[in-house]
């Protein structure tokens, strides 16, 4: 009962926020709707006992990424309402609606058709047991850490390289163009 209630409420948050992102004309409102969606996904993660990912979802997505979005919106001063009725390509919206409906029905049909493989009510599989056989309260984190730092440790190290490259690249991209740079030409 409580699982159903949590699922319904969190799904309403997810879908309401998603529709808000698409339909709100003001970029700041769209970003705040995105926060609603991200929190809903985080609630789903908790319901599926992915506790660590739920925390990371709130910290990284809602904390860092959306703040970055809002920061760029304010920095550029593009926080103006966009007129959604303006549409230069007349076929774009019908095509988008058809593609969206086709995507939902195709993927939905595939999920329903294969639900014999997936309908079983989910167990509490991702648990780690303590020495005395009782489930650990932080078993999810332990198991995830064991996987990340044993099987995927190379990928984990490569993400640090990726983040350094991203930060350096962004600094280069977003720097104000220098008019008196070396060589005398604007970069």
């Amino acid at each position: 009962m409580i699982e159903l209630f949590v699922f319904v409420v969190a799904s309403a948050m997810v879908l309401g926020g998603a529709v808000g992102v698409v339909l709100r004309t003001h970029p700041v409102h769209a970003a705040l709707s995105l926060v609603l969606t991200l929190f809903g996904v985080s609630v789903h993660f908790v319901a599926m006992e992915a506790n660590f990912l739920a925390a990371v979802q709130v910290i990284v997505y809602a904390g860092a990424i959306v703040v970055l979005f809002l920061f760029v919106i304010m920095l550029l001063g593009v926080d103006k309402t966009e007129d959604l009725r303006l549409e230069p390509f007349r076929v774009q919206r019908p095509v988008a609606a058809v593609v969206g409906a086709a995507l939902v029905s195709l993927v939905g049909l595939a999920i329903i058709a294969s639900r014999d493989a997936t309908t079983a009510v989910m167990g509490t599989g991702t648990e780690v047991l303590a020495a005395d056989g009782s489930p650990l309260h932080d078993g999810n984190i332990k198991r995830l850490a064991r996987d990340v730092f044993s099987d995927h440790v190379l990928a984990f190290e490569l993400t640090s390289v990726l983040l350094v490259i991203a930060v350096v690249g962004t600094v280069v991209l977003a720097r104000k163009p220098r008019t008196d740079g070396p060589g005398g030409q604007p970069s």
């Binding site: 992102v21 698409v22 167990g123 995830l144």
Partner: protein, 105 residues
């Protein structure tokens, strides 16, 4: 427990499919590059939800590991993408995605 409906993996997969489709429609419809990026985030979250649901169903922590890496790559992607948007919009204020048809800004 009485036979009341309990959320199954199928429910989560369907929710992920709908969320992904909303993101796709948003990318196709909206013209503000920042909102476009938010719709890409919606799609990434839909896939994350699917990954976690199947990790739970299959009792395989690898799905959650993948979601962890997806989040890291998404953070890097947003940083680079917003850097590009800042560089473009500084040169051409109020540019929409339709105005960015050529690479030479």
């Amino acid at each position: 427990m009485i036979a009341i409906a309990t959320p199954t993996t199928t429910w989560y997969l369907l929710l992920g499919a709908v969320l992904f489709a909303v993101g796709v429609v948003g990318v196709m419809v909206r013209r503000n590059p920042l909102v476009l990026f938010m719709c890409v985030e919606l799609m990434l979250n839909a896939v994350n939800l699917t990954f976690v649901a199947l990790a739970k169903k299959l009792d395989d922590i690898g799905g959650q590991t993948t979601v962890f890496f997806v989040m890291v790559v998404a953070a890097a992607e947003v940083v680079v993408g917003l850097g590009i948007i800042v560089a473009i919009l500084r040169r051409r204020p109020n540019a929409t995605t339709d105005d960015l048809a050529e690479l030479k800004g």
